[in-house]
């Protein structure tokens, strides 16, 4: 069966949901044995309301059209695919970048927040709260709130507010209030905790705009749907550019939203899907199953089930869990998850800057680091490799400067 895809405006093949790789989760929000809705009862009605509102909106052409047109006129979509001529020659592969770094606010985060901000308004709510680690999702949320006239409060670990002072100021310029979180480890996972604690007290007029494909159902599914525009566009562009189906589709993983959006466009193709985690926060490759922030997924935890902190050079990947759908894709072998360490990531960032004229964010530099390590080894020469360039490096330049200058 063929139908019009509302996001890319072309005929696409409709696949029966049951056979589809990245279809809708079951009624309890499960992707295989992962996902679900593990939140205290006071939040359950809000999750049910959100699920109903999202289903209704996503099936409403008027909503989808407004979402698309904002992403086009305001967000800068579609983002191009860039062929990396010099690096490809160096590596003996064909390396392509999906340029989410060119989207408004400098990363893929804008796709999700525009969707959720529109949904907030549609549910008759006028406030959004959000968590943020490095500040990218916070800045994107503040941006969407400013655009649609919503009040926005962003929870950010106190340590992160110090590390990312400039992003705090950006959010404030955009009219948001930034609340430093002093509980627990004072980083991203605690910002999520605090946002959930606050959400309970104001569910009537407030939407929790979660920043990745994590949390209780329907968030992992909804955020993936709002991010699938990346993969749907990229699949179409690959055809138009004569790449066909890339041999490898690569994305970095924090919670997993840019990867989920990218993978969604290729899940039913022959492309190998590779998610690259920071080695200090590798929930799939070093974690075990558990329940955190409303979902059952793979987590980094100690032998008693206490959640560990993630540590890497990139604050955006410092999350001890991963979206449940990724845990499932790993389980069934549809996607593979790899790690990259701080040093090779710094090398990758510098290489892309000096060889291709693109300064990547530290997060997607993890994807590139894996490609650099594997090209000609795990990735056979001549392969086509599409990397989701999820964000630009401006936010990281000061940090990279201090690391490189501080080095012996």
């Amino acid at each position: 069966m063929w139908t019009m895809d509302p996001l890319i405006g072309v005929e696409v093949e409709m696949v029966d949901n049951a056979e589809m790789m990245m279809g809708t989760p079951d009624d309890d929000g499960r992707f295989g044995s992962f996902g679900g809705r593990f939140v205290p009862e006071p939040l359950i009605p809000a999750c049910l309301e959100l699920e109903a509102a999202f289903k209704d909106a996503w099936g409403d052409p008027v909503f989808v059209e407004e979402y698309e047109s904002i992403l086009h006129d305001f967000g800068g979509r579609p983002t191009p695919i860039t062929f990396c001529r010099r690096l490809s020659e160096d590596l003996g592969i064909s390396l392509y970048l999906k340029r989410e770094d060119l989207a408004h606010t400098g990363s893929h985060k804008i796709n999700n927040v525009i969707g959720q901000a529109l949904l907030t308004r549609r549910m008759g709510k006028h406030k959004m709260i959000a968590e943020t680690g490095a500040g990218q999702h916070g800045v994107a949320s503040a941006t969407a709130a400013a655009l649609l006239g919503l009040e926005c409060t962003v929870y950010m670990g106190e340590l992160d507010t110090q590390r990312q002072e400039l992003n705090v100021f950006r959010m404030e310029l955009l009219g948001a209030t930034v609340v430093p979180v002093t509980s627990g480890s004072k980083t991203l996972k605690d910002a999520v905790n605090e946002a959930m604690r606050t959400w309970v007290t104001q569910v009537d007029d407030t939407h929790y705009c979660l920043g990745s494909v994590m949390g209780p159902h329907p968030f992992p599914w909804m955020v993936r749907e709002f991010q699938r525009v990346i993969g749907d566009e990229a699949a179409l562009q690959s055809k138009e550019l004569g790449i066909g189906t890339p041999d490898y589709v690569v994305a970095c993983i924090g919670g997993g939203s840019n990867a989920a959006g990218m993978f969604a466009g290729f899940a039913d193709s022959t492309a190998q899907l590779i998610g690259v985690e920071a080695s200090g926060g590798a929930a799939i490759t070093s974690g075990s199953p558990g329940v955190l922030h409303g979902m059952r997924s793979q987590l980094i935890q100690d032998d008693q089930g206490q959640i560990s902190e993630a540590h890497s050079i990139s604050a955006g990947l410092d999350y001890p869990g991963i979206g449940p759908e990724h845990a499932h894709l790993a389980d069934i072998g549809r996607a593979r998850y790899e790690q990259a360490g701080d040093d090779e990531v710094l090398e990758a960032l510098q290489l892309l800057a000096s060889r291709e004229g693109i300064i990547p964010a530290l997060e997607p530099a993890h994807g590139l680091a894996w490609i650099l390590r594997e090209a000609g080894r795990g990735i056979p020469k001549g392969s086509s490799v599409l990397l989701n360039m999820s964000g630009r490096g401006d936010k990281d330049v000061a940090q990279v400067l201090s690391i490189l200058k501080g080095r012996p």
Partner: protein, 258 residues
């Protein structure tokens, strides 16, 4: 072996006695077991034993602080069970923790060791009606009643389902918010209790934010019992020890028996 939560609470409720359930974070203080004995002596009908978790999304500052102290003291679920097993406590003990702690050790092992320590009830707030089934079955086979929550936001039909599934008592959440002391009771209390009264349910105990004897008194006029957590934990954090805990719980007992 432990004392059945559901049997004890049903019997007390039949006698029209109001139920008092203090909460203590296990391991927050070297003398936590003495404090448990002190609150039982002061008239607690059951004691909620908190097990610390790194990410307690339903807890406010006070219990978070106690939990961090407890974790820093090296507390684990099994160290708590081992210590509890050494004492013979004459009221039902209800373990309260987050699901990852239960899931990580495995339902069977957790329930088995909890039961051996005299635990006969469980409150796992992030296990909702949809997710609680597996744990509830295993818990029941070890004589542990799993208590479910009803919130001010819970709709009527869902309230009915939760109350039908909740064992021992039903935990009526007193406000839309996390645990923590408060100056005045929220208006939500009346609504949530009468919502539960409209359907068949085990005894109704109100918790989250109940902080003073006066508030406990007010709550006990409508509900079958009162749960007091943060206000007691705050006193322990402030160093009042078993004596202070005894005095506070005695004053709560007196208020609800008034």
């Amino acid at each position: 072996m432990g004392i059945s939560l559901s049997e004890r609470f049903d019997a007390l409720t039949k006698e029209k006695k109001k139920l008092l359930i203090p909460y203590i974070m296990a391991g927050m203080d070297d003398s936590w077991l003495d404090i448990v004995e002190a609150v039982i002596d002061a008239g607690a009908d059951a004691v909620e034993i908190g097990l610390p978790f790194s990410d307690p999304i339903l807890d406010g500052e006070t219990i978070q602080e106690a939990g961090l102290l407890s974790l820093a003291n090296g507390t684990t679920a099994f160290s708590v069970f081992a210590e509890l097993a050494k004492r013979s406590l004459q009221v039902p003990l209800v373990v309260m923790t987050y699901y990852n702690i239960v899931a990580h050790s495995g339902h069977e092992r957790f329930a088995g060791e909890a039961a051996a320590a005299g635990i006969t009830g469980s409150i796992v707030p992030d296990l909702s009606l949809e997710e609680v089934g597996d744990w509830q079955d295993v818990a029941r086979s070890h004589g542990i009643d799993s208590v479910l929550l009803v919130a001010p936001s819970t709709p009527h039909e869902r309230t009915r389902e939760i109350c039908a599934r909740s064992k021992g008592f039903v935990y009526a959440v007193a406000r839309m918010g996390v645990t923590g002391e408060q100056g005045a009771l929220s208006d939500d209390v009346h609504g949530v209790v009468s919502k539960i009264r409209a359907v068949p349910s085990p005894p109704i105990c109100v918790g989250i934010g109940v902080s003073t004897p006066e508030q406990a008194f007010d709550v006990s006029r409508e509900a079958d019992g009162v749960i007091v957590g943060s206000a007691l934990v705050r006193k322990i954090l402030d160093g009042e020890g078993a004596q202070g805990a005894h005095a506070f719980v005695s004053s709560l007992r007196e208020a609800i028996d008034r």
